[in-house]
């Protein structure tokens, strides 16, 4: 399962004068549940649309399942943020749509899932609640039996119960089929237990991409006297440096383990949300550890100049 499902090299997309995404290089291995995090307007949707083949890149390339994006349509499913459905179609019509538009279609799965969610097949999709519409849209996406599922803000507009149901079913499919999921969100807490790969996009650039556990293991929060901070900064990559005249709190990245430090430092592990926030606050920091594929220069651990 070391196959690369999504691979972007120097990927960029410009809308008129504004770059929505630029210089994006990342590789996502198969079977991962990838959290694509970043503030609104950071370029998450653009990246997903590029991967889905709905947009053509302005610069660079994006390869999905080994082919240029848009070539393996049957094996990639995409669920846009507003979870679009044909409003005048009944739920059954939507399933028929999926069956007619895809050579591989698991109708039994789709019907069982909708039955389990108590969504009647004879209702028009326009009459369903927002949560039910999202579930129907997700069902259509999953019944294609894709190898890669792209979800743009799947949790937006869902109540907590629906969120849990969506995630639960998604994780069950991942356990079952080894599906790779790439989902965007600006709420990190949604993703804490479900995702195992993190991609942080900020201001059109990919800032972090890596295995969540590795990332959490490599980052440490140091707090201690301010006068010691300079020495640490010279030895370790400092992501965020928060200082008063007496005290310093540093988020450091030590990919090869933390070296021996002055005992006055208090070291504690970092939580996912803290890690993400620190990077987002420091757009010039980057962590792209060892997943930049051949061809692109590894950028770790040097921060952007």
């Amino acid at each position: 399962m070391t196959e690369t499902v999504l691979e972007a090299t120097g990927l960029g997309k410009r809308y008129r004068r504004r770059w929505a995404l630029r210089d994006c290089s990342l590789a996502v291995p198969a079977g991962r549940v990838v959290a694509l995090v970043g503030p609104n307007g950071a370029g998450k949707t653009t990246l997903l649309h590029l991967a889905a083949g709905l947009l053509a890149p302005t610069a660079g390339t994006v390869r999905v399942l080994g082919s240029p994006a848009g070539h393996e349509r049957g094996r990639v499913a995409f669920l846009a943020q507003d979870k679009p459905l044909y409003e005048t179609f009944t739920v059954a019509d939507m399933l028929r749509f999926g069956r007619r538009m895809n050579p591989v279609w698991d109708d039994g799965f789709a019907r069982a899932r909708l039955a389990g969610l108590d969504i009647p097949l004879d209702h028009r999709t326009g009459r369903l609640s927002g949560g039910q519409q999202a579930q129907v849209a997700l069902t259509v996406a999953l019944a294609k039996r894709p190898d890669l599922l792209l979800l743009d803000e799947p949790m937006a507009n869902l109540d907590p119960l629906a969120r849990h149901e969506v995630m639960r079913d998604l994780m069950a499919v991942v356990a079952d089929t080894g599906l790779t999921v790439l989902l965007s969100s600006h709420v990190v807490s949604d993703l804490e237990n479900t995702c195992d790969w993190l991609v942080v996009v900020n201001r059109g650039r990919v800032q972090v991409s890596g295995d969540i556990e590795d990332l959490l293991g490599a980052h440490h929060l140091l707090s201690g006297p301010a006068e010691l901070a300079g020495a640490v900064a010279s030895r370790l990559a400092v992501v965020e440096d928060d200082r008063t005249d007496r005290q310093a709190t540093l988020l450091v990245r030590a990919t090869d383990g933390l070296p021996a430090l002055d005992p006055r430092w208090h070291v504690r592990p970092v939580a996912l949300e803290e890690l993400v926030l620190s990077y987002l606050r420091q757009p010039e920091s980057a962590a792209l550890p060892r997943l930049v594929m051949a061809g692109a220069a590894p950028t770790d651990p040097v921060p952007f100049p």
Partner: protein, 130 residues
């Protein structure tokens, strides 16, 4: 069958929570040798967590010799915990009591002792998992 639960506010890694819960169940006799643990899909479908987390917890339990994975069949409990440790339990309790008394003598109050205990726990936990 064991019923996993998550404590999201605890700050303990999810896979460790699963490991602890299996161990707890072994100690309390909820799980016996030969029992099958729920499949990753079952756990995932209930807790909405990443399946790799479950697999990681099971690998950890396997590493500790508590369970064995039989390909195609599932993960089975190898041995139970707890019965043999009753003696240990009494001894540890005595030792902790001694530490607490020494702490009081040194001027620590309950709050201080609790903080100290938690900090030692966290540190040793970090050493184990590092």
């Amino acid at each position: 069958m064991i019923d996993f639960r998550l404590d999201k506010g605890s700050g303990v890694a999810t896979y460790l929570q699963l490991v602890h819960q299996v161990k707890q169940a072994l100690r309390l006799g909820v799980l016996h040798a030969g029992d099958r643990l729920p499949t990753a899909k079952d756990v995932v479908a209930k807790l909405a967590i990443n399946p790799n987390t479950v697999l990681k917890a099971y690998r950890e339990l396997e590493r500790e010799g508590l369970v064995t994975a039989r390909p195609g069949l599932g993960t089975f409990v190898e041995r139970s915990l707890g019965t043999a440790s009753l003696v240990d339990h009494a001894r540890l309790r005595r030792e902790l009591g001694r530490v607490v008394r020494e702490g009081r003598a040194a001027g620590l109050d309950d709050e201080d002792l609790r903080a100290l205990f938690t900090s030692v726990l966290t540190d040793s936990f970090r050493e184990e998992t590092a």
